[in-house]
């Protein structure tokens, strides 16, 4: 097991502690500035004209009536886009504004700036667009047959002819989930008077926003500065550009600051969703429950534009087997292009979908073998030193699969009745109507970016009269990065005062995206290493042997007080990279991933089988967290992540018909309420990471990966029936 870097216990609020959030007071008093709250004197308000068709040809656009609306300052269409006019996180395949073809419902066609939001919206509605509606391609299997694909990926390992004594097959579906952060997309672009713009907008990755704005509009990099700003949740929805380029266009065109805030209905079309999946599985095993071969076909609907579909598909495929040993593997993955809404990043990023597939299969296999489902998983558990059966990569990080399973099994089951019944305040269900069920799922996911991408983060640590100031462009979306980066700086420097300051893209290098469970490890790695080097340089300079709040000491004597160090203006900038990864070869093999994390979940549900209503009573978990840097933040990530997994299991789904979202609102896209929240018991498994700072692993995604499948398994266990689709709807149970 790895040994964590030596900690300095004399520093309070360092790693291992749970200091209160530094952004807590402003958030609690209503003083925290979210992108929605930004204000600039004389600013205009933007709005977007969007296509009512999923697929169409634009015959003509008449901006006359919109422009004639009083208070309107600009109405821009594709004709007004300077530069190439295309953007995309991985491939620039998406037009800033549609020019002649519409590829999804809600695609932006025109943008407006006006003196107030109501006028802007009315003007956007007044843009006259003549469409020739075309039949949309919305069936992903038809898209596959038509070879309308973003990526195909085949993984072949071991003897392809081998078969097992026991074979189970299944077909599984995952519906479209939305991140639904409570704050919608919002931003403000402020022209600098010399052709440049300062952009403040909801984001997970300001450097990627900046480069996409620059490239799409043909600007010089120094013309656009993207500033981290307050974000009301993200979960993947803010990794792609949406209103950013539009804001910059409007600000440059009008010469005035322009603000835009999406309404909830627009937000549902304005950001990408979790990919819906169709999966075909065949598992082969010996009679005594050893996996022999796994065959999977995974079809993800990427919607109209690429976004991160190829990486999401890769994840779904590389983890198509789960955290289990098996020699023979065949995985065929297809990420198709359709006229459905574009899909991209959401917490779990492909690993969620295939987890539902392979864990449903593991339960099916256990039933076929007459074996305890946990015992089957334990017998096949992957461990450090094994090869990941898909990529054939030797796993170097601690991988406590068996430990997670055993720990989970040791958590006592709830023995009493739950105070909340299925149906909740609807009073549908009496205690006599319910059946209890228990289900399990174990998940695996990579941490950080994969497949050979250069994954790095820059951070700067400075000594100032405010204490150590950590400068970063890494985005705080609520997860607590502002707390943990300061903790790391305190511990690595030996100084108890440290704060985190977000700076714009012109003042620091990229921190990469707040996604892939990566910032604690990667921006954290940069902060730890910058702090460590800074401390060493200061000590060397002064010939000291200890640094603390008072200054530099030698043999217990203060030789350079902190005020002197501050005057000296010490700072250190460091760019951290995780161990390099490689792209896959033709068989999908390679050192594809930098690190892995495991979580196991056990769900306990009360089901009213006759009405098909479910109350999720408990979701317990044992999670591989590497090393706990902030216990309360880890707990918060786990409880919140489980809640999103429960949402996908029983209620969250965008209903899309003929490419049109039928429920783009909180009336009908159902987020779990406090009466739907399960209790959570958790055990944290601390075995370190092979490279994460202080032994940390990312903790944000694993809670979401296998909690969905565990709830579905528990419902199956309660009702004794097969369920091959999430979210599980009342009619799936009752009819």
């Amino acid at each position: 097991m790895t040994t964590p870097t030596r900690t300095r216990p004399t520093v309070t609020s360092g790693i291992g502690d749970s200091p209160l959030r530094p952004d807590g007071v402003p958030k609690l008093k209503g003083e925290f500035q979210y992108a929605q709250d930004l204000w600039s004197e004389g600013m205009l308000w933007g709005a977007t004209t969007r296509s009512p068709h999923a697929r169409a040809r634009i015959v003509s656009i008449d901006i006359g009536p919109a422009l004639a609306t009083g208070g309107v300052h600009a109405v821009l269409t594709a004709d007004d886009v300077p530069g190439p006019g295309m953007f995309g996180l991985e491939h620039p395949d998406q037009p800033v504004l549609a020019s002649d073809e519409i590829n999804y419902w809600g695609e932006p066609v025109a943008i407006v700036a006006a003196e107030d939001p109501d006028t802007a919206r009315r003007a956007a509605a007044a843009v006259v667009v003549e469409y020739e509606a075309l039949p949309p391609l919305t069936d992903p299997e038809e898209a596959d047959r038509a070879d309308s694909v973003f990526r195909r990926l085949q993984i072949r390992s071991g003897d392809q002819e081998v078969t097992g004594e026991v074979v189970v097959e299944g077909y599984y579906e995952v519906g479209t989930q939305d991140q639904a952060p409570l704050g919608t997309e919002a931003g403000l672009a402020v022209p600098d008077g010399s052709g440049g713009v300062d952009l403040y907008a909801t984001s997970q990755f300001v450097h990627a926003d900046q480069s996409q704005v620059v490239e799409a509009l043909g600007l010089r990099p120094e013309q656009v500065r993207s500033h981290p700003t307050g974000v009301g949740g993200a979960f993947g929805a803010r990794e792609d550009v949406n209103l950013h380029i539009h804001l910059v266009m409007l600000a440059l065109h009008t010469g005035q600051p322009v603000k835009m805030v999406y309404q909830r209905s627009e937000s549902f079309t304005g950001h990408v969703h979790r990919h819906p999946a169709r999966m075909w599985y065949r598992h082969h095993a010996t009679r005594d429950g050893k996996l022999v071969r796994v065959e999977a076909k995974i079809l993800l609907d990427g919607g109209a534009y690429a976004s991160t579909t190829s990486a999401v598909l890769a994840n779904a495929c590389y983890f198509a087997v789960g955290p289990y040993r098996v020699d023979s593997v065949l995985v065929e993955g297809i990420g198709v292009k359709t006229n459905n809404p574009p899909c991209g990043a959401m917490r779990g990023f492909g690993a969620v979908q295939s987890n539902f597939g392979y864990e449903s299969q593991m339960d099916r296999l256990a039933a076929e073998l007459g074996m305890d489902p946990l015992e089957l998983r334990r017998r096949n558990a992957l461990a450090t030193g094994d090869r990941n059966p898909t990529t054939q990569q030797v796993i170097q990080t601690p991988l406590p699969v068996a430990e997670c399973i055993d720990s989970l099994a040791a958590i006592p089951l709830p023995d009493g009745d739950d105070p909340i019944l299925p149906g909740g305040s609807g009073l549908t269900t009496d205690r006599s109507h319910i059946v209890r069920g228990v289900g399990y799922s174990v998940g695996i996911k990579n941490l950080g970016f994969s497949e050979g991408s250069d994954d790095y983060a820059e951070a700067r640590v400075r000594l100032t009269d405010e204490g150590a100031v950590v400068e970063t462009a890494a985005i705080e979306v609520g997860q607590g990065l502002v707390t943990v980066l300061a903790q790391m700086a305190r511990t690595a420097l030996g100084i108890s005062k440290a704060i985190v300051r977000h700076v714009d893209t012109s003042r620091i290098g990229s921190a990469g995206s707040t996604s892939a469970s990566r910032q604690t490890q990667i921006s954290g790695g940069a902060v730890m290493e910058a702090s460590r080097r800074l401390r060493e340089r200061i000590l060397a300079h002064h010939g000291g042997d200890e640094l603390d709040d008072l200054g530099v000491h030698r043999a217990g004597e203060l030789i350079a007080p902190m005020s002197e160090l501050i005057r000296e203006g010490w700072e250190e900038t460091y760019t951290f990279r995780h161990p390099p990864t490689t792209p896959p070869d033709d068989d999908g093999h390679g050192d594809i991933h930098a690190d892995f994390a495991i979580a196991a979940h056990r769900a306990v549900v009360d089901v009213d089988p006759e009405l098909g209503l479910v109350r999720v009573v408990r979701v317990d978990t044992a999670q591989d967290v590497g090393r706990v840097l902030n216990p309360v933040s880890v707990q918060g990530q786990i409880e919140g992540g489980i809640m999103q997994g429960v949402g996908l299991a029983v209620m969250e789904e965008l209903v899309i018909q003929d490419g049109v979202i039928r429920n783009p609102n909180f009336t009908d896209y159902l987020l779990p309420t406090i009466l739907d929240a399960p209790d959570v018991e958790m055990l944290l498994i601390e075995q370190g990471s092979w490279w994460g700072p202080f032994g940390a692993k990312g903790v944000g995604e694993p809670p979401t990966i296998s909690s969905t499948a565990a709830v579905a398994a528990a419902i199956r266990n309660a009702i004794g029936r097969d369920l091959n689709r999430v979210p599980v709807r009342p009619e799936d149970i009752a009819l």
Partner: protein, 162 residues
Amino acid sequence: MTVNGQPVSAEVEPRTLLVHFLREDLRLTGTHVGCETGYCGACTVHVDGEPVKSCTMFAVQADGANVTTIEGIASNGDLHPVQEGFWERHGLQCGYCTPGMIMSSVALLSKNDRPSEEEIRHGIEGNLCRCTGYHNIVQAVQFAAARMRGEEPPAADWEGGE
């Protein structure tokens, strides 16, 4: 109307929502908008002491009323016990739902100073949180309830346990 104890008068378009009046005319941006359909609860304020969703109310409807927003909850710069509870018990992450959660919790505790866990859940069922899973929010309200009764708040479930 009176907002956070201060008399406020302004000529507004009758169409102006209360939440927009608060946010844009008074620049009290602590009251958030999350859904415009009355579901998320981020825009919760008190009108004459009762929590309401300010996104489904015209400003002129509150003419003459006593409106309290999140900015009016702390007194003399000291956090209200409910605010303290949310901080101490990690009842917030992104914080976007937090002002609405606090307004609902304050209203609940003004009517029931010793709510059971179930009563807490029912009291704030009209506020969605996407980050926390709600567990720490319940603990935050329990913390505040004890503090407001002058008692020592119960230990957090991560304290003293395993």
